[in-house]
Symmetry: C2
Amino acid sequence: MSAVKSGQNGAHKAAIRQENEEQILAAAELVFADYGFKGATTARIAEIAKVPKANVHYYFSTKEALYRRIMEDICDHWLEAAMTFENSSDPAEILRGYIEAKMDLSRARPHGSRVWAHEIIRGAKFSSDYISTTVKNWLDSRVVVINRWITEGKMDQVEPYSLMYMIFATTQHYADFARQIEIFNNDQPLSDTQFAEAKENVVRIILKGVGLS
Amino acid sequence: MSAVKSGQNGAHKAAIRQENEEQILAAAELVFADYGFKGATTARIAEIAKVPKANVHYYFSTKEALYRRIMEDICDHWLEAAMTFENSSDPAEILRGYIEAKMDLSRARPHGSRVWAHEIIRGAKFSSDYISTTVKNWLDSRVVVINRWITEGKMDQVEPYSLMYMIFATTQHYADFARQIEIFNNDQPLSDTQFAEAKENVVRIILKGVGLS
DNA sequence: ATTTATCTTGACCGTTTGGTCAGGTTAAAA
DNA sequence: TTTTAACCTGACCAAACGGTCAAGATAAAT
């Protein structure tokens, strides 16, 4: 018997596998977030996941396989946030919704954002395909939407890419540079209230900045 | 004789030392920018600097000493840009000048920005003192200036920290995420013209966003 | 009860790591 | 010219690295 109870038909084994994989994935996300792919060590991941190092390699054949799996999970979550950027309805509400979704993602999964940051800073060696296809297609279609809003006179004539980069940068900054923000905030992580206010400030400045308020 | 000629009084030796140190420092900045402190290797630094690995340790006793030196140089350059944020004259011009100075810094020294990003993402293990003293003091004094502008009715009532974080994030994004931007730009680095336009767009959105245009 | 498939892990392997060092070269000082 | 101080580097080392493996433990299937 273990902490995970057996229902029937090998449910116990399946549960053990799931629990171990989750523990290893969570540990890996943290370690990759701190050190990037090259700097991270499987020994440290095993230590945090509280399993022997050999067990990490039992569930994930190589460090690279584990890293790719982490990247997939991160991309899935990013896509979820991206979905909030629809092309119907009111521009201000759409932009607000997307900025808030990205801010919330930075708050809920800060490690994921930091892994992504490492990946891009180093030159997107593992993810350039994903960026040049999935992400680029998504971005280009949003650019079309923004340009339509501009043509329709709904907002200022801003360069859509510059605007999107500003949104990417600012929202992810609250995850990637959380430690710096914490130091400026008298060594205290932003409280839920402070974060909610930051979110509102970001939305307000950007919306007004592009003539949407 | 070597490529570096002797003037007199040990000038040759001094010149050799300077040239080697510069070559090692340039290589180290690049490698630390790619991999962070832990992921970087002295062998790779030596390879890029085109000196034997033992020579790297002759000029810089340890990898950590080399890293600290790089961080010092980065901080010096950041301080230069920070100086453009004066507390006299027109708010719009001051903010514009600072944003442009930070964008130019991202363009001129992208590796430095990426080293800094690694450092903070990992938790500012080497630089928390510098941030909590020099940088925090500078930031807090700028916050006072911005609050004065607000009191004087010169700009909107924006939370100064949120604004500064937005400027940090957006300007540094053009260095740290240059590879991602390059992919979006059809695998071409931003040209000087594109970069100048991006700079102007950032300035325009932020200035208007805080009611300064 | 026995077999089978999965899970577990200490010990180990070849390679890479940061760092050392002895012995050599070069150029400035005496 | 001789001495001295600085520079150079191949060879080396202990520790840490990603990954392997054989032998054992556990639980599902027969």
